[in-house]
Symmetry: D2
């Protein structure tokens, strides 16, 4: 099962003077959900670096904003692994309101690259990590 | 001339524990450049709302991250109007380092929608605004 | 009972290039805890504005940073009402790690002012709100 | 001369749904001004770490909010060194609007500690750094 849904609350910090959630806040929400997808599989940032010698970095992202979110809203942010290449993970992501099946606010695709933690160069995803993540190429 | 380049400095607030500029920070930078593109034409958020009855909101964005930026870097963020439809502006944007022609860190396309300030519904861009912006459909 | 403790996770967005949680992030955490203190009593921002005609704004804050927090840490952020005057709430707040009684990372005092939602001027806290909050002057 | 004033613009990212600048944004502004105070003396974060083996971290801060700031405002953020002990710098800081002598929006005191970059323990400010900063104990 390669989907994860993270519930979160909209705070003042996430909103802007137009009275809705500020656009860059969604990119923070989307990253939280990808991080929790990893954590749900027992993998944290520190372990990636210390045991696998890698960091995961966002290589590209494409997002459509469908409806605004407001202060105090409860959002459900999903991360679903939709593809893996040698050095990249591709996630389909959505932000919905009220419930995990509620109104769609935002949807997109994030491409996450595996980088060598020392040299900061692209690197193939370690096989051991694929196993841990229960993901098959 | 429909391009604007905004120089800005990378502060601690923009970075993350991976030692580089955090991905969501770029979306803040890109918006600053679009806002300055407008301001350079004499248009501020308040005037859009008070005189034209509209707000501009991000409808979609697609970004590729090419190279990381670091603390204290000087970045040059461009916004170039590449298309206009009845209710949307499309901007090509880049983030470069050191100079306006320096190494490319990030590039993308932002689609900005014109919304009625009261009803929060999509609305055609007012003709008077097109004139002010010196933009032709 | 006038204390509330909010558990939260440290994400990349909260950290900086010094490898720890960025100082301004704590002010976001402290506000989330104050907001949840209110919500636990059934009061949300919208209701404050719509039913009581007020907004609550931070008038002053004083914080000491004791120990750094790191990526992926689980933090416990408390908000305890320690005083009320006619127009202000005073909160004692702490951030601890791992458990609600874990190592103290940060502590401080926040003064929150009651403002008229329309006129943006200081205003006495409505009596009805005191009752709802179960707070006595 | 130990004062520095940084002009900056308020963007959407700095505001919140109450229509004004969000409280945590001020702490980002104050840090930008302290960083530019250092840079004006030729000292950047990287040099602190690489040449002096230290990092500067916020140890405490106390801020009073006097008046709100709004979207598109031009702010002037000052940092003035008001005291130095063996391991700490104390800055008086203000945020004003429109000009460096404009209406006072926020004022406070920030205590910045010198830490060993490796061991993350408090450390006396290196004598060589005092000289560079043109600061005398």
């Amino acid at each position: 099962m390669n989907e994860f849904v993270l519930p979160l609350r909209v705070y003042l910090e996430d909103t802007d003077a137009q009275g809705v959630v500020y656009n860059a806040s969604y990119f923070r929400f989307l990253e939280r959900a990808r991080t929790e997808w990893l954590r749900a599989k027992g993998v944290e940032h520190n372990r990636l670096r210390d045991e696998h010698g890698i960091v995961l970095v966002l290589a590209g992202i494409e997002v459509k904003f469908r409806r605004p979110a407001s202060l105090d809203d409860e959002l459900y942010v999903s991360a679903e692994l939709s593809g893996v290449t040698g050095a990249r993970f591709v996630f389909r992501q959505e932000v919905r309101r009220d419930t995990a099946d509620g109104p769609l606010l935002c949807e997109g695709t994030a491409e996450v690259a595996c980088m060598d933690a020392m040299q900061r160069k692209p690197r193939r995803v370690p096989k051991a990590l694929f196993k841990e993540l229960n993901v098959w190429m």
